[in-house]
Structures are given as C-alpha cells and as structure tokens.
Symmetry: C2
C-alpha cells in the first residue's frame, strides 16, 4: 500500500500552532499516513493523537532533527509543494503516483536547496493561497478523491446530515 508522508518544514510552535494543526488534520483526512515536524512540539502531537483516537486511523506526528538527511535517504518520490513550481496537471504524467511519497510543505520561507533536493516542485495554482489548501488539493488529486469514501473507524462517526449534527459513538 502506498505511504504518503508529509514533511512540514519551519514550524514555530507558538506562531504556527493553528496552521500546522490544520496541515496535520488535512494530511490525516486526505490520505497521508504521517506528518514529520522539524521542531519538536508535544502539544501538537497530543492534539492530533486525540483526533485520531476519536476519528480513527493510524495517522501519527513525529519529529526529526536532520530533515535534509531524512529527505535525502527517502526511498520514493520527493515532492515539494510551492506556488513557484510546475503545475500539477503538467507534471502528473511524469510522476509515479502509485509509489511512496514524501510531500514537503514549507512555511513562509524555505531553504533554496529544497528545490534541488526534491524530484518535483509542484504548484497547486501559481498564486498565493495556503499550505493547508495546497496539501488538500494535492492529496485529493493524487488519491483521486478516495478520502470521500474512507472509513477510518474510531470512537466517533459523523453521519452526513442535511440539518444539524449527527454523531454516533462506536464500540
């Protein structure tokens, strides 16, 4: 089975708390199996663990000190999401979309060498928006929207409803 890992560069626990939490939730929801931070943040790991307990799945968040080594040694496709990159639709036919992937998501500035270290620099639109939406759309395209049918288990299950909130407890 394909494993997709999200490498989140440059996370600053105080300033990026909410954005990185959203990046992690998007990674989990749209089919990545883990996220790796380059700054230790136990509080964030705890928050995501809680969501995974409630809503299921095996998604984990961890921390690496030497991300360059991690990326260099990674066996699989290395993809850097950046608004300066090639359009996904232009690059997709040259990418093996079935293989394991490491998807690198920076915050405001990334080290220039990242453009060289990555197999592909991919833009989800060459306009400023958000690493949260870029990751969501990238994973949506790569997995062909499989997230919509996924059932991750977990203690809680939201039942789609036209009005109000329907949440089932399981087990």
């Amino acid at each position: 089975m394909q494993m997709i890992t999200v490498l989140r560069l440059g996370h600053r626990p105080e300033r990026d708390k909410r954005i990185t939490t959203h990046v992690a939730l998007v990674a989990r929801c749209f089919g990545a199996s883990s996220m790796i931070l380059t700054t230790r943040d136990d509080a964030l790991c705890g928050r995501i663990r809680k969501v995974a307990e409630n809503f299921g799945g095996d998604f984990t968040v961890s921390y690496v000190h030497d991300w360059r080594k991690l990326l260099r040694d990674f066996q699989g496709l290395k993809i850097h999401l950046t608004m300066y990159g090639e359009r996904f639709t232009d690059a997709a036919n040259r990418m093996d979309l079935q293989t394991d992937m490491m998807v690198v998501v920076g915050s405001e500035k990334v080290p220039p060498e990242l453009y060289e270290m990555s197999d592909f620099n991919i833009a989800i639109g060459n306009q400023p928006h958000s690493e949260v939406s870029a990751l969501a759309l990238f994973l949506d395209r790569v997995t062909h929207g499989k997230w919509e049918a996924a059932d991750t288990g977990g203690k809680l299950k939201i039942v789609p409803a036209a009005r109000g909130k329907t949440v089932l407890g399981r087990r």
Copy 2:
C-alpha cells in the same frame, strides 16, 4: 457571470489572523469574488488588497454588522460548509451550481440557526480538517477546477518552473 461570496463568521482579529488570511487567499485563488467578515479587521483587508494589487483580480474583503440579515436577504444559493453536513457528491445534483452563491465558513463554533438558514449544509469529508481546505475543495468542485487556467492579471506573474522561482513583472 456567477458571483461567489464567502461569508466568514466569528473571526477574532488576533486569534484568527492567519487562518482567516488563508481563507481569504483561498477564496480569491479558487474563484470567489469577495469575502465578508462579521468583525471589522482593517489590517486583514489591507493584506488581501496588497495581494490583489500584486496578483490581480477584483477580489475584495468587507465587513457586515448584521450577517443574519445579509444571509436572509441574499438572492442565490446559501451554502454552509460544515463537517456535519451532507456530502457534496450526494447533494450536488440537487444544487444549482451555476447560480450566485454565498458560502458560509465558520470558525470553531457556529450559531445552530445557521443550519436552518442555509439552503445546504455541505461537508467536504465528515472528518475534522480545516475551513481553509474545505473551502478550497468546495470551490474546486463547484468551478470544475477552472482556477488552474485563470489569469487574473496583476503586477506580478509567477511562471511555473521545475526548479527555483520565476516571477515576471508586468506593466
């Protein structure tokens, strides 16, 4: 031409500064024409105006005091994005996707009456992720990915590139 307005509820200028900025950039990038806040935030309006100056388009951010009246009086489809809602794929065939839309995006908690005031409560996945990604995927689906080919003009244009950054100045 179809006009899509994003109504952002419950924005707190300090706490939600970055998330609401990302919501606005996503709205702009993926085809909405404006965003309306329910809390005045001149700094945020200024940041988005700057992006629109550089990257083009007519996207505006404004502020309304009585959002209930605004939503009630709106002539068009009222859509509330929530993880408790119907799946977009299940509801899409009952929605007029060509008409003007007001897309309501809450922050953590929204007033329960919103579920009744909206024509549709739509979930982009019944799992927690982010209003940023939910809005991006919703607009992507509604506009059939038209954002990818859009040229909004502006002073700067990023040219898709396999490596590094290519930015053209225009005019």
